[in-house]
Amino acid sequence: MLVNTRAIFFVLPALLLGFASPVLSDDHAGTGAQLFQSCISCHEIGPDARNKVGPPLNGIIGSPAANSEGFRYSRALVARAEAGLVWDEAALDDFMANPSAFIPGTRMSFSGVRKKSDRAALLAFMATLVPETGLGVAHLEPGDPEVTPEILAIEGNVEYGKYLSATCVTCHQASGKSDGIPPIINWPAPAFVTVLHAYRSKARDNQVMQQIAGTLSDEEIAALAAYYESIQP
């Protein structure tokens, strides 16, 4: 984590494609990550995401429809995919609003996300998901171990996270300013959780971070992630 001899800042295809649609505003990713917790029971994200009830959503934005190998899509969706459907923000926005209206015959049994602002937040979050790993934005490094969906699904207590953050802000400035130590505000919670677990398991090698993360339980990591996700720049 230190300064950047090894931190690899992914350039995200998803981000390059993203944000073209007027429904999106890029500061919604944090809220979107929270909303996305309800999607996780059917759609996995992460380095080892597999087909479950629904297909994995790593790098979904900008990808051709119906392209998860081995997933049994509805005929209706396959037909739309063959006709060239790509999951850009506009298409995903329409689909999430009411799946069976956008694709009559879809196997997704979900009534839809009614609020446009919720859909915008979800899209902003999904835009941060790296295609290969499903975990987002510029925070991950090759070799960060996978965190299980169960751990990612732990709901963090924001107030407790705020208290715990008192240890973090001695180095990682609360304002998000950076002078040699990376800012950590407004990270999507899944990325925050993954990185802290990587330090706790010593897959990442900064001694200070190993020490700090080593004292945190899964719940405390979730609390910190929830708190930091809520901090806007």
Binding site: L2, V3, T5, E159, Y160, Y163, L164, A166, T167, V169, T170, C171, H172, Q173, A174, S175, K177, S178, D179, G180, I181, N206, Q207, V208, Q210, Q211, I212, G214, T215
Partner: protein, 422 residues
């Protein structure tokens, strides 16, 4: 800087007069009042966190004599020429803007029955909870021949500011091939690696400006913080320049003679060109005056809250406190301040109290881009703040790791000062 405290001490008459003077704060608005004495890593952090997190429900007053606070941490880098004095100075404007009532005055007495702090300027500041974070003062007679009247001839430079500038000027005035001596302090003292980082920075200066100069450390301790890392670094960067003399080989100083610039150790008189005397320490004087210190000179505290063992309405932070396993450092004080702020808010407004947890890391610079660190995390037990687990840099780390450690320390400095001052 804080040395002047002694100038204000003296007379009971002054204290009595102060206690009779009018209140600084207008009373009667019914809000609980927190008074913090000392605007360093402990006190500034505590004042700011209580004001910030209580949303105006608590009146917070910070009493700090200096308008610009110079951090002791990183002041060795100034001695080495790697940092400007101005980069170590921090003011209290942002904190005032965030709701802390900042009073630039000396606290000279605490009336624990009336719950009032007396100020040198004559004011009285009433409190419901008092937080003392006054740093360190020096023990009288700790080094034979040295007292505060000789601090210009033989600076301690262990409270940053004019003393640090004086020591730097004296180091720079040492003739080619001259001798810089340090009289190191006994345990416990502020910033355990501090004297040895200082020697490293003086050596860095000599290497580039006075390569035949020598450094002698007279040490009353048989071992010191990060010793293996420092001695390895000294042999790699400053071979033959630094002589550390431990007590078995005459490191215990019998006497210093500021008039003739001599150090007497093990019966031998050594003539030196500059001498940094870092005397034995005790809690900042206001803690002693408040009656919360013990025979050893430190203020025992409850590890869960940092409340004084002697008075539940007084809390003691940082260097002055006797808390257990944490080293006396700015990082520790900042960490303790947040636990204390939470406990004080909880006591006054009923806000949530979570289990205390503490952390510390001490970074030291041995030579340009050769940074090392030691750190640990801690928990509160009923007996003491107890170390859970720790780490330390290793001898033989590669250059990139050491450079990254230094860069991390620079980031920490920016982070902790922002966290303290807002």
């Amino acid at each position: 800087m804080k040395l002047d405290r002694r100038g204000f001490l003296g007379t009971g008459v002054a204290v009595a007069a102060a206690l009779a003077a009018p209140m600084v704060l207008a009373g009667g608005h019914g809000k609980p009042r927190v008074v913090v004495v000392g605007g360093g890593a402990g006190g500034a952090t505590a004042a700011r966190y209580i004001a910030k997190d209580s949303n105006g429900e608590i009146d917070v007053t910070l009493i700090e004599p200096t308008r610009t606070y110079y951090t002791c941490f990183f002041s060795n880098l100034y001695l080495g020429g790697l940092r400007d004095m101005s980069s170590l100075g921090h003011t209290y404007g942002a904190m005032a803007f965030q709701g802390v009532n900042v009073v630039h005055d000396w606290a000279i007495g605490v009336d624990r029955d009336a719950k009032v702090v007396a100020l040198a300027g004559g004011g009285r500041v009433p409190y419901d909870k008092l937080i003392l974070s006054p740093g360190i003062d020096f023990r009288e007679e700790a080094v034979q021949g040295w007292d505060l009247s000789s601090q210009n001839a033989m600076p301690h430079a262990y409270k940053a500011g004019s003393q640090t500038e004086l020591l730097k000027a004296q180091v720079e005035a040492i003739p080619q091939g001259g001798i810089f001596a340090m009289v190191a302090p006994p345990n416990p003292f502020r910033c355990p690696p501090g004297p040895y980082e200082r020697v490293s920075m003086v050596a860095h200066y000599f290497k580039n400006n006075n390569p035949t100069a020598k450094i002698i450390i007279f040490d009353p301790k048989p071992a010191f913080s990060k010793q293996a890392l420092f001695t390895d670094g000294w042999s790699r960067h400053y071979s033959g320049m630094i002589d550390w003399i431990n007590p078995d080989f005459g490191g215990k100083v019998d006497e210093v003679r500021p008039g003739s610039m001599e150090v007497v150790a093990d019966g031998e008189v050594v003539k030196v060109d500059a001498c940094n005397v870092i005397p034995a320490m005790k809690a900042g004087l206001i803690a002693e005056q408040a009656g919360v210190t013990n025979e050893a000179g430190w203020a025992p505290v409850d590890p869960h809250t940092m409340a004084s063992r002697a008075d539940e309405n007084i809390y003691v932070l940082g260097d002055s406190s006797q808390q257990g396993d944490m080293p006396k450092s700015g990082f520790s004080a900042n960490s303790q301040a947040k636990v204390c702020a939470m406990a004080v808010r909880g006591a006054l407004t009923g806000s949530s109290i979570f289990p205390a947890r503490f952390a510390n890391t001490c970074w030291s610079l041995i030579e340009t881009n050769d940074g090392v660190k030691v750190g640990a995390s801690y928990e509160a037990t009923d007996e003491k703040i107890a170390k859970i687990d720790g780490f330390i840099s290793q001898v033989g780390e590669d250059d990139a790791t050491r450079a990254a450690t230094y860069e991390e320390s620079v980031g920490w400095y920016a982070g902790i000062t922002a966290d303290m001052m807002g």
